[in-house]
């Protein structure tokens, strides 16, 4: 029996979850004791740097005592070239978010290998949000590799969720094509993925991503903020800035957010919640006491357009998939906030049937990544995964974005060719073309992700034709220059160069 250590890492914005492929069970199982002090399996994506190669991950409390050596929300900054920090515990060395990601992966590797008696990780599959750019994917892969983790591949979070859900769900019939929506409402982001799934048994399946959508800034934390604001207005009747003592203000803000989170959780399972808390404001005790009923909570979400944003995102995602709502067979819930009754009801009303939740919602993605890691070595697994590009890739024409490889093109599919006139390059030695990724027509709202540099001597004609495609397995971007529009004669074909 193969006993290689194959790992799935769900590298989320707020939390991390790690799974390991079990060759006997032909399934991924969670790796335990990964958080600070070995107690939690899903742990906060934060790091405290004690010194060179001395890191603590998953522990948020250091923020208050040693904030300059503590980092959180790193994932959001990975593609930002201007964001750098000096770390006192590293002799004031300047680091980027990519460097910090590397440290987090280093510690993950150290913990996993220690959990398994010093055995080395043979390979890992790491999750990435579907909508994140190529630049992010490259950097996160490099971070893990520099930390000593051999990366088998990156997988988009909803694809991993789909694998986890579809393969091990006995209700999904064999040899029947199903159109499935993964509805992933987490703490900070909302991802929607429409895909087609077909399996013949647990070892053979085909997954085709049809479309992705959602909202980059919508999640459970927004609900906590809405509730907390409601309590502040109703009971304290003052602005936070009116609380003069810094510590008191911080305690009240944090206390209200905790109360909001508790209330949200209770209203997820009960029809009402007895909200009760005493807070001290400007040295006066104030009681927050109320029987909060679920309908009131739901009104709050509706009034603040939280539900409206979900409905809009659902409509757009289905429209762009090319399917009708009636053609969707299942909706799979992922992400902790998906369990809230009004969210489930909104989904049910939209599709006309109940959504499904089969596993611990926070583990679905990491579990799928672990299965994919096993797929690389367990030859009895045969999953075909057809992925599609989540944002268009193209070039700039002045201030305008000219897409070449369009959103939802299949990985491996070569785009239509785009004419480039090179008459003006007579005297230049090389041609440099920058590539951008985005959904907007304005270039400043798209992200520059790479470039192509070609010696002009390679072109014999005044006009060439450019096509783009993503590698079927790795998802990396390539370009091809053709002599003609029929794509018969290739002048040059290469991987898009990184900007790092």
């Amino acid at each position: 029996m193969n006993d290689e250590l194959l790992i799935g890492i769900d590298f989320g914005t707020s939390t991390i979850f790690v799974s390991k492929y079990d060759f006997e069970k032909k399934d991924a199982v969670q790796v335990e004791n990964m958080g600070a002090y070995g107690r939690s399996n899903i742990f906060d994506n934060v790091i405290y740097i004690e010194g060179d190669k001395k890191y603590i991950i998953g522990e948020t409390k250091r923020f208050l005592t040693d904030p300059l050596n503590y980092f959180h929300d790193i994932k959001r900054h990975v593609t930002n070239d201007n964001k750098r920090w000096r770390v006192p515990n590293l002799n004031n060395r300047e680091v980027t978010a990519k460097d910090i990601s590397e440290m987090i992966f280093f510690k993950i590797k150290e913990k996993i290998e220690s959990n398994f008696g010093g055995k080395k990780i043979s390979g890992a599959v790491i999750t990435v949000p579907y909508a994140y750019s190529d630049k992010y994917r490259k950097r996160i892969k490099e971070s893990a590799e520099r930390a000593g983790i051999p990366v088998i591949q990156l997988v988009e979070e909803p694809v991993a969720a789909a694998i986890s859900f579809g393969i091990f769900n006995d209700e999904v019939q064999n040899n029947k094509k199903e159109n499935i929506v993964v509805f992933d409402l987490g703490g900070g982001t909302f991802d929607l993925t429409v895909f087609q799934f077909e399996k013949s048994d647990k070892q053979h399946a085909k997954i085709e991503v049809l479309n992705t959508g959602g909202h980059q800034e919508l999640g459970g934390k927004d609900i906590d903020k809405l509730l907390s604001e409601r309590f502040r207005k109703e009971f304290l009747q003052l602005e936070f800035s009116d609380i003069t003592n810094d510590q008191e203000r911080a305690e009240v803000q944090l206390g209200l957010l905790e109360l909001a989170n508790d209330t949200k959780e209770e209203l997820t399972h009960s029809n009402d919640s007895d909200v009760f808390k005493s807070v001290t404001v400007n040295s006066q005790r104030t009681l927050i006491e109320k029987n909060f009923i679920r309908t009131e909570f739901e009104e709050l979400l509706k009034r603040n357009n939280f539900i409206g944003k979900i409905e809009e995102s659902l409509q757009t995602a289905i429209d762009e998939s090319g399917l009708e709502v009636s053609e969707i067979d299942r909706v799979v819930l992922a992400g902790g906030s998906s369990a809230i009754p009004i969210i489930k009801r909104t989904i049910r009303d939209f599709f006309g049937f109940e959504p499904e939740a089969k596993k611990n919602l926070g583990e679905l993605v990491g579990h799928g990544a672990g299965i994919l890691a096993g797929l690389s070595k367990d030859k009895s697994l045969h999953y075909e995964i057809i992925r599609k590009t989540s944002k268009s890739v193209g070039i700039s024409l002045g201030n305008k974005f000219q897409p070449i490889l369009r959103k939802n093109s299949r990985y491996g599919e070569i785009s239509s060719s785009y004419l480039i006139n090179i008459e003006n390059l007579k005297d230049a030695d090389e041609l440099v073309i920058y590539f951008y990724e985005g959904d907007s027509v304005k270039i400043d709202q798209c992200e520059r992700i790479g470039k192509a540099t070609i010696k002009t001597g390679e072109f014999s004609a005044q006009r060439v034709y450019l096509s783009l495609y993503r590698d079927e397995k790795s998802g990396e971007l390539f370009f091809k220059f053709y002599k003609d529009n029929n794509k018969k004669e290739i002048i040059v074909s290469k991987k898009i160069e990184s900007l790092d």
Binding site: T65, L68, Q247, L254, E266, S283, N360
Partner: protein
């Protein structure tokens, strides 16, 4: 007993009542998953119990501490804290000592939550990991696990 003390006692009663309801609900809705073994079931169950006990102790200790720090009838609050701690000890929950000026090692770090503090910034690197003021003690169960972490102000080294 003055009105504020009466109000504090009322808050304590209501807190117990409020949290008790949540604890019973959590126990009622505890679900064992197919792949859990006995150790996992025990751990998950304890997590729920600890979370709710932690909430109850936290609210009560906070209310009593406010009384000790700011009111005239400090002796009542001190006695109340003693009664509460004695009750907890009788059911296996005990406190351990942490003190102002103590340098916290890795083992104790896990038992203390630093609190936001407006006047804790310092440039003195020797004050790293030193407690500036203790707000509440850690509450523990039998195998040296914290049910509720202690709270303290630490020096924040800039």
């Amino acid at each position: 007993m003055n009105d504020q003390t009466r109000e504090a006692l009322l808050i304590i009663n209501k807190t117990i009542d409020n949290r008790k309801k949540r604890l019973f609900y959590a126990i009622d809705s505890f679900q064992i998953q197919d792949n859990w073994n006995m150790t996992k079931i025990r751990d998950e169950y304890l997590l729920i119990i600890e979370k709710h006990f932690s909430n109850i102790i936290d609210e009560i200790v906070r209310t009593i501490s406010t009384g000790i720090n700011s009111l005239n009838e400090k002796h009542i609050y001190r006695e109340l804290l003693n009664i509460f701690n004695r009750f907890l000890k009788s059911i296996g929950i005990y406190t351990i000592l942490i003190a102002k000026g103590e340098k916290v090692d890795e083992a104790k770090w896990k038992l203390i939550d630093p609190q936001i503090c407006g006047e804790c910034s310092t440039n003195d690197k020797d004050l790293k990991d030193i407690i500036k003021e203790v707000l509440s003690l850690p509450y523990m169960v039998d195998d040296n696990r914290a049910v509720l972490n202690g709270k303290a102000f630490f020096w924040s080294v800039k």
